[in-house]
Assembly symmetry: C2
Homo-oligomer: 231 residues x 2
Amino acid sequence: MSNPKIDSDCKNCQRRNNIFALLNEEELKLVNEHRYELVFNPGEIIFKQGSPLTHVACITEGLAKIYIEGLNRRNLILSFAKPVQMIGGPGMFVDYRHHFTVAAVEETTACLVDTKIIEQLIESNARFACDLLKRTNQVTIGNFNKFIHLTQKQMHGRIADAFILLEEEIYGRNPFLLSLSRQDLADLTAMSKENVIRVIKSFRDQDFIKTDGNVVEILNKKELVRISETG
Amino acid sequence: MSNPKIDSDCKNCQRRNNIFALLNEEELKLVNEHRYELVFNPGEIIFKQGSPLTHVACITEGLAKIYIEGLNRRNLILSFAKPVQMIGGPGMFVDYRHHFTVAAVEETTACLVDTKIIEQLIESNARFACDLLKRTNQVTIGNFNKFIHLTQKQMHGRIADAFILLEEEIYGRNPFLLSLSRQDLADLTAMSKENVIRVIKSFRDQDFIKTDGNVVEILNKKELVRISETG
DNA sequence: TATTCTTATTGATATATATCAACATCGTGC
DNA sequence: GCACGATGTTGATATATATCAATAAGAATA
């Protein structure tokens, strides 16, 4: 956690989340006056589960993982955040605590906005409120899919899902440089890291993927999709 | 699906959800004009996953299960709804479809309110919007717990959780008359119904619970809690 | 460069869980 | 009361998955 960047203005920000387009100049100014920017090194924690929810984060650079700290020191990665995603939190209006931990995977810049300002905007700007509800609902739908993936697919299907997610959503290219550890993949798929390694190996042996150090290339997307669908 | 009850007025409704207390007389009248009441027999579907989201349901009588229809005809029960719970749905503001199925477990009366009216209220009444966000967040927090339970506990812990849920949240008494089938319990805990039966048997053999037909009594709550906590 | 620490990998094994098949029980309509 | 379908139960077995232990490979540090 270090090096606050030179502040630019929300008004002209090239990295701002779409939701802020719903604000007028005055509202945007309010946001601008109650935010600050931070740079996090890989592994550093942005929000810690259980701590007070005082800010929401907007990722402007890098990659962060959002995970629940569960039983016996086991984590469950819910999702990843990259620019220009906003990370709120279900503690808002409830207990004002974080219900997940957010940690930087790569060097990550986050813009932190005071929760009180967000609440104020929800109350005064109906379009903002509706958009937030929409986003919350989208996350919920995503969670439903995750529920089914984690409880009704077996290991190969879950790892196939993970690779498809990495290519399509997280890195947006193929091949990609994997910045997640095997343990991260285990936390994402709810399996042991040893089995993650074994399934990856079997995918490599069958030429579904190719790996060279941390560079991963998907060679047979169709087959990965098939495995993902057949469990 | 049958027997619409004689309509009473929302204003004087003894079974209305707290959220409607945030409405003024005019708004409540609007709701009253765009709602209808239905009685569902056990097993009947109230909302079907994939169908258009035209109404939200307020349960005024009975018990309903909310579940995702997943892979290979397997269902995952997310939660139960009893009076006076409101069932919205994450499709609102997104794709206007139901992302889960809701079915009556016991004879259930539901009051169905037009989604458009709910949206209108969200836009015009900030307190209503905030309360809805709060509820959505509470559900999300519940889903997080469910994630951990289902992915990080094994069968005994999950069944212990289920019995605690049944006693504390669903029936609110001990002993209780179990209106769920073994398959329902399997869908709730993400396990096979055979294993549900085996774990229940082991709990019975250890005198943690007692069963007589569909009447279940929890004899050793402390032990159930312990099993739930140790996985 | 040597050293230490973390991460990745592999194989052997134990365990948890699902599946399959057979049978019992219960309620319901005839 | 009987036949039937749905639900519940049990045991045997197969399979998926975790755990444990050992080693290897990298990355960070002195």
